[in-house]
Symmetry: C2
Subunit: 151 residues, 2 copies
């Protein structure tokens, strides 16, 4: 008698995989936001950067990378595009010329008001109560933090 091949079969089914659920949910969210964010001249990752800046303006590239868990290879070109559309400025720190501070322009600050309606489309799509959304968010955050620790 062999050792239960069924068990590993069940584990390897696509829909049983937590990783595929998260992966496909992330892609679905990007697609949901796309038409909304296009009106603001933002991509989804650029929107996340703007959210971070609206909460705390003027961080260095590495601080932003820490917050979003992205490295400079991703952020540098992204930030240059945000600078090109006029939402941020990239300025060298006078005390430490290695650092580059990312600061909102007037247009970048004004955008926050126009972005106020963006979250509504996800909340509407989710079709569940705000407490339920908060609970799900916390579960996913806990999972993410444990994965980070394990990696």
């Amino acid at each position: 008698m062999r050792s239960t091949p069924q068990a590993s079969d069940e584990m390897l089914k696509l829909d049983n995989q937590l990783c595929f659920a998260v992966y496909s949910a992330s892609l679905a969210m990007t697609r949901l936001y796309k038409p909304v964010l296009e009106k603001l001249q933002l991509t989804y990752p650029q929107y996340l950067v703007m959210l971070a800046l609206w909460e705390q303006d003027g961080p260095t590239v590495s601080e932003l990378g820490e917050r979003l868990s992205l490295d400079s290879g991703t952020l540098t070109p992204l930030l240059k595009r945000l600078e090109a559309v006029g939402y941020v400025t990239r300025l060298r720190d006078v005390a430490d010329e290695r650092r580059v501070h990312i600061t909102l322009t007037a247009a970048g600050r004004k955008l926050k008001a126009r972005a106020a309606s963006v979250p509504g489309c996800l909340i509407a799509a989710a079709q569940c109560s705000v407490p339920e959304l908060i609970s799900l968010t916390q579960q996913i955050q806990t999972l993410r933090d444990r994965i980070r620790k394990a990696a």
Copy 2:
């Protein structure tokens, strides 16, 4: 008196937590799997394609795209890489020459046994019971399906 700017502030923070949680969890998972999948000569999206093929061999490119919610612009080069390492073959349908069937090679089928241990690393990292993982997976799938319907 202005109309509660705090409300939109909170909304933006809530949205930050929800969409960013899924986004960052997805990235964290990719990073967790990376060293494990490298031993199998697979990237994370390639692993998802292999999971789909182990469940049902020989689909067309568009059927695979339907299952994974990816288009030909993503799948065509990815499948060519899987063909290059020898895990799949790409064969034109004899009845309809527009279609390309993706079929596992012997090496591709053999890989399934070696991949049996892959899900374990996420389960270990998650530090929670299997029923809890199943529940969380289902919640995320439900969210994803509702988002897809709304988009």
